[in-house]
Structures are given as structure tokens and as C-alpha cells.
Symmetry: C2
Subunit: 205 residues, 2 copies
């Protein structure tokens, strides 16, 4: 692709570094910015730069935060005995949107991935151990993606935490609500039969 201007070319290349944005989409975004007020572009540039420079991470749970301690950790009404372990802050937003969890979180900022060369020491795992050591936490819920990396991380964490008196659980895996048995993959279907629930439990969900 040949560009009529170096400025356009730089902007397209910068947009195209973002995930899911190719050169054609990037060009569409650039055209949109050019067709609108200069103020809109300034606002976008300022918002992302300010966000990246000034963002803080909660000293307790590593969630993104405007202060040293995030609004969830500093909320007195939340159950401090249950901690939900997630991969990143996007998962916190997803779980918070369900309004069905009132405990705290712990953000790993990634998953153990031997293929990508990510070991436990690069994740926020030591700080999780420190939190468990205080004895305040009674249950750790693993809410990680059902992938090989996710399962590896759960396995590592459960091994590491086995020496403490803490209950370790994982979010249920099975057939999604509204899903059809016919189209569910074999592993999920097999697992959902193995981990079947008494009908009363099912109803109470």
C-alpha cells in the first residue's frame, strides 16, 4: 500500500499495531479522524496517553485503579474471605457485571505458558501466596480461561497453596445456557456429564 503522505503512513502503522486492526481498518480510522474535528483526535490521543501514564495497579490485588488500593479492595461491604483469581482486569469487569460475586479479586496479569516462555515468577503469584499466608482468606476461586495455559496455572497454584488451610475451587465448566447439546464439543459434554449436579443444586442456581 502506497501512502500519499508520511504522516498518514505513520498513523496507519501505529493503529495497525493494535490487535484485530489491519492496514485497511487502520486507514478507515485515520480517514474518520481527518473527517472530524481536530479536538476529537486530541481527545483520543490525550485519553490513551493519560491512561497509560497515570494508571495505577492496586497494591493488594493488582487490579487497575486510580488510587493505590482499588475500589473493590477498599470496599468495606465486600467479603474478604473469598478471593477470585483472574487473568486480567477485563475478567474482573465481566464478573462484576454479573453482580453475583461479592468477594475480592487477584489479578495474575497473565497465565503460565511454557510455550511463550512465561513462568510463575513473571506473574503476580508470590503476592497471592502472601495474601493467603495472612490466614484471612478461606476460599480461592480459580476463574481462568479453560485452555491449556489456564489449566496449567490452576494446577501450579493449587499445588503451591496446598500447604495452607484454604479451600480451592474453580468456576463450573459445562454447557452454556441456551446452548444445544448437538453442537457442544465432545470434551465439554463429557466433562459436564462427569461433573453432574443433583437436581436441587441445579434449581438453586
Amino acid at each position: 500500500m502506497q501512502f500519499p503522505s508520511k504522516l498518514i503512513e505513520d498513523a496507519v502503522h501505529a493503529f495497525a499495531t493494535l490487535p484485530g486492526i489491519g492496514k485497511k481498518t487502520a486507514l478507515r480510522l485515520v480517514l474518520h479522524l481527518l473527517q472530524n474535528e481536530t479536538a476529537n483526535t486530541k481527545q483520543l490521543a490525550d485519553a490513551i496517553l493519560k491512561m497509560r501514564m497515570e494508571i495505577k495497579f492496586c497494591q493488594t490485588c493488582h487490579n487497575v485503579s486510580d488510587a493505590d488500593i482499588c475500589s473493590i479492595c477498599s470496599n468495606g461491604y465486600r467479603d474478604k474471605s473469598v478471593v477470585c483469581v483472574v487473568e486480567n482486569f477485563r475478567d474482573i469487569i465481566a464478573i462484576e457485571n454479573t453482580r453475583h460475586f461479592n468477594g475480592l479479586y487477584h489479578v495474575l496479569e497473565g497465565l503460565i505458558s511454557p510455550m511463550d516462555g512465561i513462568g510463575p515468577e513473571q506473574l503476580n503469584i508470590q503476592s497471592l501466596a502472601s495474601r493467603v499466608q495472612t490466614g484471612e482468606i478461606q476460599e480461592i476461586i480459580m476463574a481462568l480461561n479453560p485452555t491449556i495455559d489456564g489449566d496449567t496455572t490452576i494446577f501450579y497454584l493449587s499445588k503451591m497453596l496446598s500447604k495452607y488451610e484454604v479451600k480451592i475451587t474453580s468456576i463450573a465448566r459445562g454447557i452454556a445456557f441456551g446452548g444445544e447439546l448437538e453442537y457442544v464439543d465432545e470434551i465439554t459434554l463429557a466433562r459436564s456429564i462427569q461433573s453432574r449436579l443433583p437436581y436441587e443444586n441445579y434449581l438453586s442456581k
Copy 2:
């Protein structure tokens, strides 16, 4: 969607103003920026801001440019007797990529659209008339999208330019190469039969 931080919220909202980017995608982009070096975010912010603030528009054809006259208009090897009228600079990039056009361009920066309240006076139409008035131009090729707005604009321009001695043509419309007759819409198929070419012309393309 509830956000753990005002900074994240602002950045997500700013990204979500771009076309084709919803809140979930915006959140994914923000997460990507947070997971990468601060320098990457700075580069993106700088690139789009610099592009928007410093971009110039060619005084002759209104193409985006780094100088007062764009590289196409100032190129001595191009045929100055043929001008291709396009909606925006993206179309110039597309046509330039074909390497089959050696004339100049004229960017309207939009199409006449009564529905959106865009009239001829908001587009670069007066400057096109001025270019034709000089008598240097022998042919105007209309390369506008085959939509109602595109056709309205072509109709308006051809009426306006009819008093000058200039040939007005439009890019061919028909069945795309590799397309199958079966799946072509009726209007396109009907038009492509009406504007059929002698076989020799077809071969020479």
C-alpha cells in the same frame, strides 16, 4: 459496563468513538496498551495527533499531502489532461495501487447527500469547475461509489460541467472479475447487459 478506573473508562469511550469499534473491542485495545510498553502508547498518541495537526491538503486536488501541492499533482510525468474525481483520499490509494491510471485526481471530500444535508457547496466542486475552466483538462473520469449519493453527485457534476468542452466518463460498472452470474444482483446484471462491449474491446482490457 462498570469500569474499575476513570482513566480506563475515558480511554475506552475515546476508542469507541471510532467507526467499527464497540466498547468490548475498545476494552481489548486498552488492555493491549496496558500490557505493552508505555513507549508504544506514546507512539500511537503522537502519530495520530501529529497526523491530524500537521496534515495538509493539496491546493489543486485536495488530496492529503505533506506539502502545499501533493506528490501526484507535482509529478511531471503524469497526464494533466485527465482528471479522476473521487470521494476521498482512500479511493486515490486504491486506484494508485492498480498502477493503471496516470492522470491527476480531484477529491470531493464527500458526496452530495440530501438525506444527510450535504449540498454541493460543502464539497470541493467549485475548485473542480475552476480547474476545468483553465482548458487544460480534456477528460473527467467519475470514480464515485455506485450508490444513490454517488449517482446524484455524478448527475450534478455532469450538468455543471456541460458548458465546458470536456469529455465526461464514468468507471465501468458490471460483473466483477471472478464473480459468478448466479449471485450477481439483478440491477448489476441488467446494466452489464445494456452496456455490453464488442468482444475486441473486452480482450484489450
